[in-house]
């Protein structure tokens, strides 16, 4: 053990109670930092998992057309959206070819064509509007968590029944329908009868209130859209590459391609703000501990001027003296961080067991936490910066003491 660490350890005992208070503050600060990050990240992670499991990582919709080329067309009528200087023709005209091209992207793991449109639903209690999604069941299962979202009924019933429907839970409740009940959909002036095969719940209230899945051919027929698709829903292996992949796809495929990060930007910003806000709030505990640490070390410097001078007279350099005080901070920091990690992990586990029912942007019946080593490193870094800053000033002051002045002052 270096002489400086040995002296630092002994000096710590001089202010044991104050040091323990600082240590406890760091333990609480680090622990609460970890648990708040675990919660906010956990809910954020769960939200991302939910949206990826419902709407996929990437959506390709609306082909892009050059403005001048559109202007010089032969006058036939197009439905298009005008955004900035690009014209978007709604829908995907050649979904099969587009899917083939998309499949070339390394990160893509699944592609599903979707035809969608608005219908009027007649239930036993009331009528309501809904959005039907025409899908190939095997394709949509590759790009969503639909199989895990079924809460009543069975997916196989839907698979084998061409007129079967998968109905969102909130919509089913509003309409007063259950699995096996008949249901009537009205669209484009025609009315057709179906049967509820299963009821699903994504946890996203907007989706659960208005979405109905049906077989692709039946949907085309109902909406009278024999060709094309409304959009392609795509799953990827690495979700964090979705933005780059989407930009690349948009560039090469001339379609509007939206990654999940852009689609859910608002909620992601809310989660980010919550995470930063909670980190800042909890960091004040660490900050207060740092102030306590500063006070204690400053007191030790004042009380130990004679000892510092005698160490200097023995040949301990200014750097050694500074290190002795920095080590005191470091020792408390290391102890506080390790105990804080254990404390943080324990409360994170405890919180994950707390029941709480949340519906709206996702569905959960208990607190969701994320276990990430980065939370522990971030807590340790925050505590490290605060404690070492708090130790630096007293350490510098101790190092600047002139031994001659101190000894002269006490010996004359």
């Amino acid at each position: 053990m270096s002489p400086n660490i040995r002296i630092a350890l002994r000096f710590l005992t001089a202010k044991r109670r104050s040091m323990i208070m600082s240590l406890v503050g760091i333990v609480f600060g680090v622990g609460f930092f970890i648990v708040t990050q675990a919660q906010t990240s956990g809910f954020e992670e769960f939200f991302i998992k939910t949206i990826l499991g419902t709407n996929g990582a990437i959506r390709i919709e609306d082909s892009m057309q050059d403005t001048l080329r559109s202007m010089s067309s032969d006058g036939s009528t197009f439905d298009f959206a005008h955004r900035d200087n690009v014209r978007y023709v709604e829908g995907v005209a050649e979904p099969a070819k587009l899917a083939q091209a998309v499949a070339q992207f390394e990160n893509v793991t699944g592609i599903a064509e979707v035809v969608t449109g608005v219908t009027l639903v007649r239930g036993s209690l009331r009528n309501d509007s809904a959005r039907v999604f025409g899908v190939q069941i095997d394709d949509i299962l590759k790009v969503s968590d639909l199989s895990q979202q079924i809460v009543f009924g069975h997916l196989n019933d839907f698979r084998i029944n061409p007129t079967g429907l998968l109905v969102g839970r909130v919509l089913a409740n509003r309409l007063g329908i259950n699995v096996g009940d008949p249901i009537t959909l009205e669209a484009v002036g025609q009315m057709r009868h179906y049967r509820v095969s299963a009821i699903f719940e994504t946890g996203v209230s907007d989706i659960d209130r208005q979405r109905i899945y049906m077989h692709m051919q039946e949907c085309r027929s109902l909406l009278q859209k024999p060709n094309g698709a409304s959009f392609l829903q795509i799953a990827v292996a690495d979700r964090y590459r979705a933005t780059a992949d989407a930009a690349h796809m948009q560039e090469t495929l001339h379609h509007l391609v939206t990654p999940w990060q852009a689609r859910e930007k608002t909620w992601l910003e809310v989660f980010r703000a919550l995470r930063v806000s909670s980190a800042l709030t909890v960091s004040t505990i660490i900050l207060i501990s740092g102030l306590g640490m500063f006070n204690t070390l400053a007191m030790i410097v004042m009380e130990k001027t004679k000892e510092i001078s005698i160490l200097r007279s023995m040949g301990y350099t200014r750097k050694d003296i500074a290190h002795i005080f920095l080590w005191q901070g470091a020792i408390v920091l290391i102890g506080g961080v390790i105990l804080g990690w254990i404390f943080g992990a324990a409360i994170t586990y405890g919180v994950s067991r707390l029941p709480i029912r949340i519906r709206g942007i996702f569905s959960t019946d208990s607190f969701v936490v994320a276990w990430s080593v980065w939370h522990y490193l971030a807590a340790a870094t925050t505590a490290g910066v605060v404690v070492m800053l708090a130790s630096f000033i007293p350490a510098r002051r101790a190092a600047r003491l002139e031994p001659g002045d101190v000894i002269r002052g006490t010996s004359q």
């Binding site: 000892e307 200097r312 040949g315 350099t317 001659g404 002269r408």
Partner: protein, 231 residues
């Protein structure tokens, strides 16, 4: 003149040292061109009334302070151009201090206090450091109390431990500021005898500041001081 060339026996010397203390109207000319030299193996006493500049000179000789003018030589090497790091290294290796109020580190045992300069110098293995520290404590009559904390020792005992500590790195020079000033007559005599014996045995130059004429009289050389000058 380089005092080293004058005599190889000189461990420490100074020429024309001036030192001012305080600022503004409180500024005092404490040392007014002092010359001093100390030979190896001899005990030198600096005597004089309080405030005459004895301790200030001692701290300048011990490189704990810097002169406003003049030169200090340690083992023939001029200290005037050395930086703080070099002066600290010289203190560690060549100078041992004994202060009036012993200044042991209270959180450490007598043995650990004596080992502290050795740990800084880092020349010996931990086992050798401990053995040497124990031997030094035996030499000063504290062998049986080596594991006691400094706070568990009497004033005289602490001063003896401080002497052992000052000798830890076998320095060429031992500077003692009123080493017996805080002790009763019996302990004063013991501490002084100890310093003299060790200095002669080890060939060290001992410079001590004292008010005690009896002790000064028994030193090899006595330099009376008044108003910042030797008389």
């Amino acid at each position: 003149m380089n005092p080293a060339s004058a005599s190889l026996d000189l461990a420490i010397s100074c020429i024309g040292v001036h030192r001012y203390l305080g600022t503004g109207e409180a500024r005092v000319h404490v040392l007014r061109g002092v010359d001093f030299e100390a030979e190896r193996g001899k005990v030198h006493a600096i005597v004089g009334p309080s405030g005459c500049g004895k301790s200030t000179l001692l701290y300048l000789l011990g490189l704990l302070d810097r002169a406003d003018a003049g030169e200090v030589w340690i083992n023939g090497q001029s200290m005037s151009q050395t930086d703080d790091l070099a002066r600290t290294a010289i203190r560690c290796e060549h100078i041992g201090f004994v202060f009036q109020f012993h200044f042991l580190l209270p959180e450490f045992t007598a043995l650990e206090n004596v080992m502290m300069p050795m740990r800084k110098l880092g020349r010996l293995s931990p086992e050798h450091m401990e053995a040497r520290a124990q031997q030094l404590l035996v030499d000063v009559g504290m062998g049986d109390k080596s594991l006691r904390l400094a706070t568990q020792l009497s004033g005289g005992e602490q001063q003896r431990v401080a002497i052992a500590r000052s000798l830890a790195n076998a320095p060429a020079i031992v500077l003692a500021d009123e080493p017996t000033g805080n002790l009763d007559q019996k302990n004063s005599a013991q501490v002084f005898e100890l310093l003299c014996r060790l200095a002669r045995e080890n060939g060290q130059a001992v410079v001590l500041v004292t008010h005690n004429p009896e002790i000064a009289h028994r030193c090899d050389a006595v330099r009376p001081m008044r108003d910042g000058l030797f008389i």
